[in-house]
């Protein structure tokens, strides 16, 4: 993943795993387990990321400067202080917004073609461990 990002659109389309992780982090900084839970919850359990997929994705997102590691650590009494927290960077936020718009455009196109109704949920492809 290149670190010489010029336009968010250059990174599109994102893979489902990347998009889900970015979406999870769009709600605030999270550690790996929380990201996995967020993805599983937002997809109603259809997508369950395994450690390999999750941290492989995190690694690439860090390299691409789309996310960054947070210095904040949880209270030792509330959570494991060894957990590493991640959050979106400004670029990462632009990218996830751009990808979301792209999905929205696709959904609008599908609706225009009457492939889906106004209440139909767009289900992204991909299934994870």
């Amino acid at each position: 993943m290149s670190t010489h990002l010029q336009e968010p659109e250059e990174l599109l389309p994102l893979t489902p795993a990347v998009f889900h992780v970015l979406l999870a982090l769009a709600g605030g900084e999270r550690h790996g387990y929380a990201i996995m839970q967020e993805v599983a919850e937002s997809t109603e359990g259809r997508i369950k990321m395994g450690p390999g997929t999750l941290y492989g994705t995190i690694k690439r997102l860090l390299e691409a400067r789309l996310i960054e590691e947070s210095d904040e650590r949880p209270d030792a009494e509330l959570d494991d202080e060894r957990r590493r927290y991640y959050r979106l960077t400004a670029v990462g936020e632009q990218v996830v917004r751009a990808e979301a718009r792209r999905y929205a455009d696709l959904v609008a196109l599908a609706r225009g073609k009457k492939l889906i109704g106004k209440t139909a949920r767009a289900v992204m492809p991909g299934g994870y461990a």
Partner: protein
């Protein structure tokens, strides 16, 4: 957690931590603990969900994930190495077309090598050459050869030129040159900070500056000496030619003297025999009462006298012949000693330096420059071509 069966967890964790070895070392070091912790969290959730069945389902999901992502990380490691090469190429400014890389580097290397050859050629000390030529008779006439058979005199010596050149390079010829021209001192001042050189050092230097060559289809040899001093080159060449001629004369004189001495010894032995024979003849003449001027025997009993007289006549005849040969040898020695070696051309100081050979050096520099420039340019053009095939940036994460 304390309600969970420890064995199921401990076994699962231990197995998963072992399986993490499938990932590259760097990935494992960076994310291994987090992955293990996430797995433990997932184990807890799975157990909470449906205990052992949940753990089994977790493993069924985890194993393909682990296999796929470990392979992906291994491949990513390979890509990263390539990416590192890319960055190096970027740093080196080789992110341009291979052809441009080739021509730029070709021009750069060629100019460097060619320029270096010109500079080196120009700063090398100039040296002059002076050549003396000597005619070397392989079979000179002399006292020793006057008795040689026609066959031996006409024998061709295929090693004559090589032998002559080895003599020219030997101590017997070059040693006197060093002494005569005081090369130990002269070269000591030039090349040894003023301290005189040893004769062996001067000899090596002299041999290094000496070039001998036969003139085709003749018995003439050229003696060429190189020096940065044009006069010195001529002096040395002439001194070598003279020293070689002196050596040839000296060796011929010694051989002639040895031959003359042998003939002279034989001559004196014959003279003693003649005196002895003459004394015996006188006693026989008195014994048989033969007149001094008698030319024929008067009786049979005089035969011993006449036999002795014939022996004396033979000895006298051979004695005369030997004396004549000695005279001839002396004459040959005086007249033909120098005919074996003749300096036909003396060396003169050169007008223009012959070393370094500027046209040759510059031509070689150009050829070497073309070769090296092609190799270097081609090599880096290949690298540029290879590094130019970059993988377009894509956030492929799984």
């Amino acid at each position: 957690m304390k309600n969970l069966p420890p064995r199921s967890f401990s076994v699962s964790w231990a197995v998963y931590e072992r399986l993490l070895l499938a990932y590259p070392r760097a990935h494992r070091r960076e994310y291994g603990p987090a992955m293990a912790q996430l797995f433990r969290d997932q184990c807890r959730d799975a157990w909470t969900d449906s205990q052992n069945w949940g753990l089994l389902k977790l493993w069924l999901r985890i194993l393909p994930d682990l296999a796929a992502t470990s392979i992906l990380e291994r491949l990513a490691g390979l890509k990263e190495r390539k990416s590192m090469n890319d960055r190096l190429a970027n740093l080196s400014g080789f992110r341009i077309a291979p052809a441009a890389v080739f021509f730029k580097l070709f021009a750069l290397v060629f100019l460097l090598v060619f320029g270096a050859s010109i500079v080196i050629t120009c700063i090398l000390p100039e040296s002059y050459a002076s050549t003396a030529r000597v005619k070397v008779d392989p079979d000179p006439k002399g006292p020793l050869n006057s008795t040689a058979t026609p066959e031996s005199a006409s024998n061709y010596d295929p090693y004559f030129i090589q032998t002559t050149f080895e003599i020219l390079r030997s101590q017997v010829v070059l040693g006197p040159v060093i002494d005569q021209l005081q090369l130990n001192d002269v070269w000591g001042k030039k090349y040894n900070g003023g301290a005189p050189l040893k004769s062996a050092q001067s000899m090596e230097m002299l041999k290094a500056r000496l070039d001998l060559a036969p003139i085709r289809n003749t018995s003439i040899a050229s003696i060429t000496v190189y020096s940065e001093d044009r006069d010195e080159a001529a002096r040395i060449a002439n001194a070598i030619a003279g020293s070689f001629r002196d050596y040839r004369v000296r060796s011929r004189v010694e051989a002639s003297d040895r031959a003359l001495q042998a003939m002279w010894d034989q001559y004196q032995n014959q003279e003693a025999q003649i005196q002895e024979t003459t004394a015996g003849l006188d006693s026989l003449r008195q014994k048989y009462n033969i007149a001094i001027g008698a030319t024929e025997p008067q009786s049979l009993r005089e035969h011993p006298y006449w036999d002795k007289k014939r022996d004396l006549d033979t000895q006298l005849e051979f004695h005369k012949l030997l004396a004549a040969k000695i005279d001839a040898a002396k004459l040959d020695r005086e007249t033909s000693l120098n005919s074996g070696t003749e300096i036909i051309d003396t060396a003169h100081p050169g007008n223009t330096p012959v070393r370094p050979n500027k046209p040759l050096n510059i031509t070689l520099g150009a050829l070497t420059g073309i070769f090296l420039a092609s190799v270097v340019g081609g090599f880096f053009a290949l690298i540029a071509s290879w590094s130019g095939k970059r993988i377009p940036p894509a956030p492929a994460a799984s």
